[in-house]
Each structure stands twice: as C-alpha cells, then as structure tokens.
Symmetry: C2
Subunit: 95 residues, 2 copies
Amino acid sequence: MIACLNIKQVEKISKALGDPYRLKIMNIISKSESCVQCCDVSAEFNLAQSTMSHHLKQLIDADLLIADKDGRNLKFVINKEVCAAYADYINSLLL
Amino acid sequence: MIACLNIKQVEKISKALGDPYRLKIMNIISKSESCVQCCDVSAEFNLAQSTMSHHLKQLIDADLLIADKDGRNLKFVINKEVCAAYADYINSLLL
DNA sequence: CAAAAACATCGAAATATTTAGATATTTAAA
DNA sequence: TTTAAATATCTAAATATTTCGATGTTTTTG
C-alpha cells in the first residue's frame, strides 16, 4: 500500500533532512493548516532569498515537498506518501 | 512509549543516513541474524579501513548503531529504539 | 507598458565532508 | 614477549555543500 523507496531515494531524502533549516521548513509546513508560501517560510529565517530557494529546491527534489505554482507564488504541502514511505524504510531496519 | 528525539538529534541521524555507504552498512547490520563485526562490514566495500572506521563512528555517534567491544573486535547491532523514534518523528510530519 | 513582487539561477567564497595513508592503540596468538 | 590483527586517530587532499549577491524570469499591479 505504501510506496517503496530505493536506496538512492532514501539517501537523497536523508541528505535533504540533514540540515537544520530544512528540518525547520518541514516542521513549519507540517504544522500549518493550509498551504504555505515560499515567502512565509523565508520570513522565519535570517537567510538570503536565494539560499532559501536552494533549500526548498532540495526538499522538492527529494520529493518531500510538493510545490504548487500559484501565480508568482509557490505553495507547499508535505508529500505524505513519500514521508510515510521513508518512515517505513527506517522501520524496516528494525525487523 | 517511544523515545522522543529533538531536532538536533534528527538532524544528526539524517546526516548519518545521507551517505550510500552508511545506508548500506545499516542494511547489512539490519539483515544479519547475529551481531556484525567491523571487518565483516569493511569486506563488503572497497574503502580504506580508516574510512570505514569513520563511517561507523558517525552511525554510532548518531545513536543508530550500538557498538560492543569484544576483544579486539567491534560488534554492532541496530539501535532499535532510536531508529523507531526517528521513524516516529518522520511520521509526525504527516499528522 | 513600466515597476514591483515572488521566485530561480549563476558564480564565487566560505565551510564541511569524504577519503586515504601513516601511525597509534589495544588485544590475541605464537 | 614479540608479532599480528582489529580498530582508532591524525593529517592532508579532493570533493561537496552552504551561503550570498547579482541578475534573470514570470506574473501581477499601477
């Protein structure tokens, strides 16, 4: 039922999560009721816009976030399927 | 019931898992029936001994592996509690 | 259409990680 | 007790990542 990730995907996801800013971004988006915009996320950190863009790209490239372009804004949601599959992979290590 | 990890621990664990060799090490140790020795792990890879030692250290420092010194050998097992707590953290992102 | 807003991309500097070789330490075996 | 085996540590080179500023693109607004 849950998608299965290969080891390369797991590596990429782990790498994406291995940064304090990107972890916080995941938390912010996870906790928000609705979609979160890029500038909402940026506002939380003291980082250049290009840096934030880079971090978000890594989360999107790892399929942890789904980005939806809405005019000149980007909105994000957690990719629940991939997060669940990743958690599943980790849990499979302890079987 | 499951231990709760803080964001710094999650970052460290993610970083530790964000490398192909270290992921493979986790898989090898996970799949093995009994304890795995350092030299067993090294034999699977074409890496210098010092490099392997470095990778194993990172997994141990992240509390993903428990090392047990047995004479001049090191034996490893998966730290199931920490792995489970990590998977739990990931799952908490999709609530 | 010109200006502004939101985001992406590029280039370069700063920093961190990976890797190997040399050497050290600890324990077992001869 | 010398030697060998297993692992750790140190140093340095190679490589990768992070960060910013400058600039580019797209879309909205005046």
